[in-house]
């Protein structure tokens, strides 16, 4: 397994980074928050034109046909800039769900529209603190109550990311044989979206009530296993997003402490500051290594992919939270101001720590998987 990026993946990284430097500046993020705008359609359009939205969608369905790792490379760059696009909701969550659970006809129906960016989609999975039984890690949590009957869906889903801008929702509901996945037109009668007042100002969420809304069940696959595969992928994709955010926050702190003088010397010359950032660098390097391994383990369908995905998520969550907090801390009072850029990561790190299930949930899942593993896997 190759744990370093190929030259082509490096070029993709440069391309995305260049685009985001132009289109997702901190000033543009502040403007979006002021305008209470949920996203940047201009950036979305640029990403569509570069083929980034269909990177991991097969060519037969209008995509570029690259792999999971290419999607990870894009996610990392978006995480670095806290880019205001529904990439994770539409391209990672919804498209990957359709790829895993849809029939060939269903993939042909929806994937081309997601690949082109013409339609935005999202994944409605949570019901407050209820989580799908992705793993034994959902210990003691309430089961999903949303149900499908006669082609109609009934129940309440919250929080749902990017629900206001999404036209389609992939919904995970409870069923006799475990969780089921279906696609719902979010503008149809019987769907009521209410915006939530959320902590992260750059990714809007909604509460959705389905009152016998028409839905189409994904018929390729269903049940615990497919939901687990989906969440493994999402954990790894998001780990890359978190790694990007961690690196951005770490170097923001490094740069600030280098240029700030205090008591006659650079703030960065104090050992308390150096050791703090060295510890974050260690967390970043380990998180990146674990995320790379997990992406490879999923691509190669290795038997240890579930614990590799949980490992990637836990390490990346810890690293991003620490980097976001210490970055603001090391900026001092300036870090607490709207004009400084620390708050973007400070809020986003919290969102990413909880939006796929908390550290508690994933630690449980990881330990259960390790406890039941027959033998350690070789790299």
């Amino acid at each position: 397994m190759n744990l370093i990026l190929t030259e082509e993946q490096g070029l993709l990284q440069d391309q995305v980074r260049g685009l985001l430097e132009r289109r997702a500046s901190p000033e543009s993020l502040r403007q979006l928050i002021t305008d209470q705008a949920p996203w940047s359609p201009e950036l979305w359009q640029d990403m569509a034109e570069l083929g980034l939205l269909g990177a991991a969608i097969p060519e037969a369905h209008g995509g570029v046909g690259l792999g999971l790792l290419e999607l990870c490379v894009i996610a990392e760059e978006l995480g670095r800039t806290v880019a205001p696009v529904p990439f994770f909701s539409s391209v990672c969550m919804a498209a990957e769900a359709i790829k895993l659970a849809g029939s060939e006809a269903q993939k042909a129906q929806w994937l081309p529209r997601l690949a082109s960016g013409e339609a935005v989609a999202t994944l409605a999975w949570a019901e407050g603190s209820a989580v799908p039984p992705t793993a034994a890690g959902a210990h003691g949590r309430p089961a999903l109550t949303t149900r499908i009957a006669d082609g109609r869906i009934r129940g309440r889903k919250w929080p749902v990311p990017d629900a206001a801008v999404a036209e389609l929702g992939v919904v995970i509901s409870g069923g006799e044989g475990g969780p089921e996945l279906s696609v719902v037109d979010l503008s149809a009668a019987g769907v009521r979206r209410t915006a939530l007042d959320g902590f992260d100002q750059l990714r809007h969420h909604a509460d959705i009530v389905f009152d016998d809304a028409p839905c189409e069940r994904l018929t390729g696959a269903s049940g615990d296993a497919v939901v687990r595969e989906l969440f493994d992928r999402l954990a790894v994709l998001e780990a890359f997003e978190q790694v990007g955010g961690t690196e951005s926050a770490l170097y923001m702190a490094r740069d600030y402490t280098l240029q700030r003088f205090i008591f006659g010397r650079q703030l960065a010359s104090y050992q308390a500051v150096k050791h703090n950032l060295a510890d974050i660098l260690v967390m970043l390097e380990l998180a990146r290594a674990n995320a790379m391994y997990a992406a490879g383990a999923i691509e190669e369908e290795r038997p240890d992919r579930h614990r590799a995905a949980a490992t990637a998520r836990i390490g990346a969550t810890q690293a991003y939270e620490k980097a976001a907090r210490e970055n603001l801390q090391l900026h001092g009072g300036i870090g607490f101001t709207w004009e400084a850029n620390c708050h973007f990561h400070y809020r986003r790190a919290r969102l990413l720590a909880l939006n796929l299930g908390s550290l508690e949930v994933w630690s449980d899942a990881l330990i259960d998987d390790v406890a039941h593993a027959d033998a350690p896997q070789a790299a």
């Binding site: 397994m1 190759n2 744990l3 370093i4 770490l250 490094r254 402490t257 280098l258 010397r265 650079q266 960065a268 010359s269 050992q271 500051v273 150096k274 050791h275 950032l277 060295a278 510890d279 660098l281 260690v282 390097e285 380990l286 998180a287 290594a289 674990n290 790379m292 391994y293 614990r307 590799a308 949980a310 490992t311 836990i314 390490g315 810890q318 550290l359 508690e360 994933w362 630690s363 449980d364 990881l366 330990i367 390790v370 406890a371 593993a373 350690p376 790299a379």
Partner: protein, 409 residues
């Protein structure tokens, strides 16, 4: 000089055949006494030397085989299939002593000590650290005073104390750094020597460690006479020589990190699952799970980081400045996980007996404390990461430009 891949293949086959004939007794690992290990190590080097397999890439006049680095690597891979005797004093000699003599010594010194070392005649120890000079090695106080006499010619009189010299009681020669001029700033007044460990005035005493064992020594030097011909490099070049040795040491330990075990947390999970607690097991505890998950993530991170490191360096890239994180993380992990092996059995975890021998856990927990200090203390490693990987400023120094004898101590 380069070697074509065809030649290398043939070379490797010849090496394999030679090893099959000459290393058969080392097919399985064997526990032997220290004295026996030293004897066997020297004997094995001699055997390789006579067959042209010792110091393969070094010149013949320095006791080597005059071959290529490719040949040396090929032989090393073949030899790695056996448990050939490797006394630490041999690797200190082959890697560190030879490197510093080759780079800073005279051609004559390199020929002389290369021949003795590569033929297995002598082994080496390192006389660097002192009671008040560890992380700050350049603070060392062992004095070397220049002298001349009819009988001794130009020579040096050395007085001082060195610590943490591994296996000094079995070594024939030592590499030594001492202060030759205390009136200049501390890095400038140092000079490097090789010293015969059987010289009058050298006394090696074992250090009793917290484990009860004695893996290291302290070495007292009292009016030890070192001929000026055993000075390596110029007067005042000692710090540069020491840096050469330490860089070699770091490169060596990096290789061994790759072989570290990466499944120890999995065994902790099994241990917790097998430990009764209330009506269930210790693994039912959310606090236990959180800690285990944290350690598992760090252990896998180390494994995958090492994997990435190999891929980077194999591709010809420079070794990244993040390498110090490996020991920083693994030493702390070792301390925390071995503490857990006691925690999980509560009070009883502090005692051997009742069918449970916890000696290995006690030993590993004690040893982890040394791991956090040796080869770069945690604090030094964090400085290195901040300065070399993140480009942050070096420490503000109170000793910069100040003559050594004016520094407070």
């Amino acid at each position: 000089m380069s070697t074509s891949s065809e030649d290398i293949k043939a070379y490797r086959e010849r090496a394999r055949a030679w090893l099959a004939e000459n290393a058969a007794e080392y097919a399985e690992p064997r526990e032997v006494s220290e004295e026996e290990l030293v004897r066997r190590s020297k004997e094995w080097i001699r055997k390789k030397h006579d067959a042209g397999y010792s110091a393969i890439a070094e010149p013949v006049e320095a006791g080597g085989a005059g071959g290529t680095p490719e040949q040396a690597a090929a032989f090393a891979k073949e030899e790695a299939r056996y448990h050939t005797p490797t006394f630490t004093g041999v690797s200190i000699g082959f890697a560190m002593a030879m490197e510093v003599i080759r780079r800073h010594g005279t051609p004559e010194q390199y020929r002389r000590f290369g021949t003795l070392t590569h033929r297995g005649d002598i082994t080496w120890c390192q006389l660097f650290s002192e009671p008040a000079a560890g992380s700050d090695l350049a603070a060392l106080r062992t004095r070397a005073v220049k002298a001349h006499s009819e009988s001794e010619g130009d020579h040096w009189i050395v007085n001082g104390q060195k610590v943490w010299s591994s296996w000094a009681h079995h070594a024939d020669w030592g590499i030594l750094i001492a202060r030759s001029d205390p009136t200049v700033p501390k890095h400038k007044g140092l000079t490097f020597f090789v010293v015969d460990m059987r010289s009058p005035g050298i006394e090696v005493r074992p250090i009793r460690q917290i484990t009860g064992h004695s893996d290291f020594n302290e070495t007292f030097l009292t009016d030890v006479v070192i001929p000026d011909s055993n000075r390596i490099g110029a007067e005042g070049e000692g710090w540069a020589c020491a840096m050469t040795v330490l860089a070699t040491e770091r490169n060596q330990s990096r290789g061994s990190d790759n072989d570290a075990r990466h499944d120890s947390v999995t065994s902790l999970v099994r241990k917790a699952a097998a430990t009764p607690r209330g009506g269930g097991t210790a693994l039912d505890s959310a606090a236990v799970r959180a800690r285990l998950a944290d350690w598992y993530v760090r252990e896998q991170g180390l494994k995958n980081f090492a994997h990435r490191l190999r891929a980077t360096t194999t591709a010809g890239g420079p070794p990244p400045a993040t390498i110090p994180l490996m020991k920083l993380v693994s030493a702390t992990l070792m301390q925390e996980t071995n503490a857990f092996l006691m925690d999980v059995d509560e009070y009883e975890g502090l005692f051997s007996g009742a069918g449970q021998d916890r000696g290995e856990v006690f030993y590993q927990y004690l040893w982890s404390a040394a791991m956090r200090i040796a080869g770069g203390a945690d604090e030094v490693l964090r400085n290195q990461l901040a300065e070399r990987a993140l480009g942050m400023p070096g420490e503000m120094r109170a000793d910069k430009g100040v003559p050594f004898n004016e520094l407070p101590h």
